[in-house]
């Protein structure tokens, strides 16, 4: 492991994977959250797109890789597609749930005060659903990481997954284990840096009931 760090392969792999992860995850959030809100709020949209989203979200994200390769070739886009699809759908499903389960009296109260349309959505419904949406975002992060690792394993393009594959090819158990340790560290530290502060802030404001 120390050797990996010293000659730079491990560092480079981590950097490659991290950039992919952040990009793909960001895209997944920007797609998944509006999709979830749409599903929760529009009857027609729910009836048409709802079953599709639910169905697709049950497809393991790595199954998209062949399609992605057909469409985009062995490119960065192909691997991004896998990450985005893997993360956006669970985010959408969680967001839909969160928005749907906002306490009705909270929205009614806002409506009696004259809040409507986009104002109601952004000033009331979204904040009210925030704990649930955040739960979805956390889930999405794990899904993004898993999809990315699976994608990189099957797909030669740098990154941690490929390093794992290299380790296997060389029969280098210590490299494989080192990469696993790095993955664990990556996911734990992102959890601590990214989500714990938000979680704590939410718990402080919303109280225990919804946290």
């Amino acid at each position: 492991m120390a050797a990996g760090v010293r000659d730079g392969t491990l560092v480079r792999a981590v950097a490659t994977s991290a950039v992919r992860l952040v990009l793909g995850y960001g895209t997944a959030l920007t797609l998944g959250i509006p999709l979830g809100i749409g599903l929760a709020r529009s009857r027609v949209f729910k009836d048409t797109a709802g079953p599709v989203v639910l169905g697709l979200s049950s497809v393991p994200s790595i199954c998209w890789l062949p399609l992605a390769i057909l469409w985009f070739g062995l490119s960065e886009l192909a691997i991004q597609l896998v990450v985005v699809l893997g993360a956006a759908l669970p985010v959408a499903v969680a967001t839909e749930n969160a928005v749907r389960h906002v306490t009705p009296s909270i929205e009614r109260a806002a409506r009696t005060m004259g809040a409507r349309g986009a104002r109601l959505m952004f000033a009331v419904t979204m904040p009210a659903a925030l704990p649930g949406i955040l739960g979805g975002a956390k889930l999405g992060w794990t899904f993004a990481l898993r999809s990315l690792m699976a994608g990189e394993l099957l797909f030669v393009s740098g990154g941690l997954g490929q390093l794992l594959e290299t380790g296997r090819d060389l029969g280098d158990t210590s490299l494989v284990l080192a990469v696993v340790v790095v993955i664990v560290a990556l996911s734990r530290s992102s959890e601590i840096v990214l989500f714990s502060p938000i979680d704590r802030a939410i718990a402080r404001r919303w109280g225990v009931e919804e946290a």
Binding site: S105, T112, M113, G114, A115, R119, A123, P127, R205, G207
Partner: protein
């Protein structure tokens, strides 16, 4: 205030005095919603005239459409038939002149108390300094100024409800719609809040429509109690409460009026239960009074 305690039936609807400066009017309002098992009649031809500054309690069992009346006046629901008017104008949407207080307070959990009270003012586009002044005034009115920076989950149920009242008063509405606001509170807190509400009402002279299924609470607070019946929801009876204010929680006249209304409700509840339970309820009764077990209480 109308001094005559009346105990007429539905005929008491257009009481002299209340009619003249009616603030909120329901005119033969019916509401039917289409559910999965066919359509359900929620309200059947309900007519009510509520004077400006009057405190009216809607009292009735669940399913009698009490809360629906509030939603109609608030403009959240439109009637199937009839007219809901506020100051002679048809109610078509919510407005800042009609504010609502809910059983669960419905404070926004992501905002501190101050932010909650300022929320409706923000919607109206009031400036920050004006908002701050108004929220301080209101939080002082409900004795919560010390807790202005607390979040709802840090407050007790009674404090949350007082906060909700402050928020509802923020836009200085003429009508305050209260949907069982004290139902989830313990008995002591409820009595304290009833006293506070009476004080606030005396100070502000809002028109209050207060929904409850607690007879004592209705009589304790109201100028007029409107008794609702269920299935379909309709007005059964109206009663003026001619007891001077401020009323003590254990006022003897309040108690005797409440007892009278409770008797009336009991007979209505029994009627409903008999209809609901159809066979199960009628079968033992149909055996007639000759059945000795009936009197012994056995076998029923």
């Amino acid at each position: 205030m109308d001094p005559q305690p009346t105990s007429l039936g539905a005929a008491a609807i257009s009481t002299p005095g209340a009619c003249a400066d009616a603030n909120v009017t329901l005119d033969a309002v019916s509401l039917t919603i289409r559910g999965k098992q066919g359509s359900i009649e929620i309200l059947q031809s309900v007519s009510l005239r509520i004077a400006a500054g009057e405190f009216v309690c809607l009292l009735g069992p669940s399913g009698s459409g009490k809360s629906t009346i509030l939603n109609l006046v608030a403009g959240l629901v439109r009637p199937t038939q009839g007219h809901v008017r506020y100051r002679a104008a048809e109610v078509t949407s919510p407005g800042p002149d009609r504010a609502m207080v809910f059983q669960d307070a419905a404070l926004f959990p992501w905002l501190a108390l101050r932010g909650n009270v300022e929320f409706p003012l923000k919607l109206q586009g009031l400036r920050r300094t004006a908002r701050a002044a108004r929220s301080e005034e209101l939080l002082r009115l409900v004795h919560l100024w010390r807790f202005a920076d607390r979040y709802p989950h840090e407050l007790s149920g009674g404090m949350r409800q007082r906060g909700a009242i402050a928020r509802a008063l923020a836009t200085d509405p003429a009508v305050l719609l209260m949907d069982e606001p004290f139902a989830a509170l313990d008995a002591q807190t409820r009595e304290i809040l009833q006293g506070e509400l009476e004080r606030i009402w005396t100070a502000t002279r809002k028109t209050v429509i207060f929904v409850t299924h607690n007879v004592r609470e209705a009589v304790r607070l109201a100028d007029r109690v409107v008794l609702m019946a269920t299935r379909p929801g309709r007005v059964l009876h109206e009663e003026y409460v001619d007891v001077p204010r401020p009323r003590a929680a254990n006022d003897a006249r309040v108690s005797s009026l409440a007892a009278g209304i409770a008797r009336r409700i009991a007979s209505e509840v029994e009627k409903v239960a008999r209809e609901e339970a159809d066979d199960a309820w009628l079968a033992p009764g149909s055996r007639g009074h000759s059945d000795p077990r009936r009197h012994l209480g056995g076998g029923i």
